[in-house]
């Protein structure tokens, strides 16, 4: 099993979500995050003092899938989250050793 961690643009979230659901990938956990990347460089000011701000709002998806589905999910996310401009985000694949469904206690192992 792998956890697919995808950082995407908030406005692409619906498209990604729908595309995943269409292929049967329903389960996911969503977090509001801020991201810094190449896309940066704005100044903020508060009653005179200047603060450099370079964090933009992003959505983080965490989707745990079996190893054989990783490529398909990555592909769906990539295609639907892409605009081609800086700030489209990143996908990280991380190993998951075990997964437990709390409702049933059911365990899935690597």
């Amino acid at each position: 099993m792998k956890m697919i961690v995808a950082i995407i643009r908030p406005e692409k979230f619906e498209a990604v979500e729908d595309a995943l659901a269409e292929k049967g990938y329903i389960g996911m956990t969503v977090t509001e995050v801020k991201g810094r990347g190449v896309q940066k460089g704005i100044k903020l000011q508060y009653r005179g003092s200047v603060i450099e701000v370079d964090l933009l709002h992003k959505i983080k998806l965490e989707i745990v899938v079996d190893d054989e589905n990783v490529d398909e999910v990555v592909d769906i996310i990539s295609r639907n989250a892409r605009t081609g401009r800086h700030g489209d985000g990143r996908i990280f694949i991380m190993p998951v050793e075990k997964s437990i469904r709390i409702r049933t206690g059911e365990v899935e192992k690597q």
């Binding site: 406005e11 692409k12 979230f13 619906e14 498209a15 704005i42 100044k43 903020l44 000011q45 508060y46 200047v50 701000v53 933009l56 709002h57």
Partner: protein
């Protein structure tokens, strides 16, 4: 000088003042988090610009003298000769203040059309031009002894002067500015309904001064106006709720939109119709403004916060309804139902001309501003939000 009348108009002036940030908060809840500061700031600067322009020349142009029924003169610039005394009635200075607040509210309402994408600097320019070339003429025509007043058209508290002007102006402005990036592609959702409802509460509250104060004295007309106002708003809110329930769920934004549709619609009529007329206006306002909003959305027009559907259509409908429902018992004017054909015709003329004027002149001003200083922010600025790009602030840390 009657202290009771002065007391009421002082109070009303304060109440209308509160509506200016009220519009800002109402709108601000409906935009995305990254534009919340921008939206409120547009209302603050509307108040400020109205104050500055009114002081310098606005009040004078609207209410001092009359040049061929079209516009006033500059003899009261800098509020020269605006007195603080009055034998009967209320001091002109107080009238000036009350009117000033209307200019501010109207400018705030029109910011609906440019939500989340206007350059702040361009809005300053636009705002000054718009008050000068749209708001002030309307105020003069109806209330400053201009041609519509001479014609006999009625607008009690701003159905045309405030609501048609800003509503149809917003529509024109929306066409010039264009849709928000991503509009129609991905959902653009309200970020804080409580904020909108706080603003809505301020508007509902302030409207007591808006319509009640438009009697200019604390008399039977003021009493009729607040009763008509509140009853129309309740029936409109109820009707909108029913309409939206038929199509889905009875949302809070729908309910408050209905209330405001009722308020905008009763505005031109509150001093002329009786409470039963107000009920009818409320019910119809709830239906047609709902349909107008639905129409706008289906057409994919990004007049973002529905000044057109609610204020424009509501104000126009309400102004026409005066020609039908005006009860001579209230202020001596008779609508169709009471045998008064002439008034009905006048109201149609007034509405038709006003719609065309508001739309066309706003369009021209917006185009001009856009030509000179670009009315819209760059794509990247829109993306990060106006709060950061225009104001250097973030709404919520």
């Amino acid at each position: 000088m009657d202290s009771g009348n002065v007391a009421w108009l002082l109070t009303s002036t304060a109440l209308v003042m509160l509506m200016i940030p009220g519009v800002g908060l109402f709108y601000a809840g409906m935009v995305r988090k990254k534009n919340v500061v921008s939206m409120i700031t547009l209302s603050l600067i509307s108040a400020i610009l109205a104050g500055v322009v009114w002081f310098l020349y606005g009040y004078s142009l609207a209410f001092s003298g009359d040049i061929s029924g079209v516009i006033g003169d500059l003899s009261k610039s800098f509020l020269a000769n605006v007195g603080i005394e009055s034998k009967d009635g209320i001091p002109e200075m107080l009238f000036m203040m009350f009117q000033l607040m209307f200019a501010g509210v109207t400018l705030a309402i029109i910011t609906s059309a440019i939500a989340e994408r206007v350059r702040f600097f361009s809005f300053l320019l636009f705002g000054v031009l718009w008050i000068t070339f749209v708001y002030i003429p309307f105020a003069h025509w109806f209330w400053g002894g201009g041609w519509l007043a001479k014609l006999g058209a009625l607008d009690f508290a701003g159905g045309v002067v405030v609501h048609v002007s800003s509503g149809f102006g917003a529509l024109a402005l929306a066409f010039v500015v264009g849709k928000r990036y991503g509009y129609g592609e991905h959902p653009i959702e309200p970020h804080s309904i409580p904020l909108t409802l706080i603003g809505g509460a301020m508007l509902w509250f302030g409207w007591f001064g808006f319509n009640g104060g438009s009697a200019l004295v604390a008399n039977r007309i003021a009493v009729n106006a607040i009763a008509a106002t509140f009853i129309a708003s309740c029936f409109a809110g109820f009707t909108w709720m029913v309409m939206s329930w038929i199509k889905g769920k009875p949302g809070s934004l729908g309910m408050i939109s209905g209330v405001i549709a009722g308020l905008a619609s009763i505005t031109p009529a509150a001093g002329f119709v009786d409470v039963r007329g107000a009920m009818i206006i409320g019910v119809i306002a709830g239906i047609i403004c709902f349909l107008a909003l639905d129409f706008r959305m289906r057409k994919g027009i990004d007049e973002s916060l529905d000044a057109w559907a609610i204020h424009g259509i509501g104000g126009a409908f309400g102004t026409l309804s005066v020609g039908i429902l005006a009860n001579p018992y209230i202020s001596g004017y008779a609508g169709l139902l009471f045998g008064g054909i002439e008034l009905f015709v006048n109201q149609i003329v007034a509405v038709a001309v006003s719609i065309v004027y508001a739309f066309a002149v706003t369009f021209a001003i917006a185009k001009a501003v856009d030509g000179i200083v670009r009315i819209r922010v760059e794509h990247e600025e829109e993306y990060v939000g106006l709060d950061i790009s225009q104001h250097g602030e973030v709404g919520y840390a």
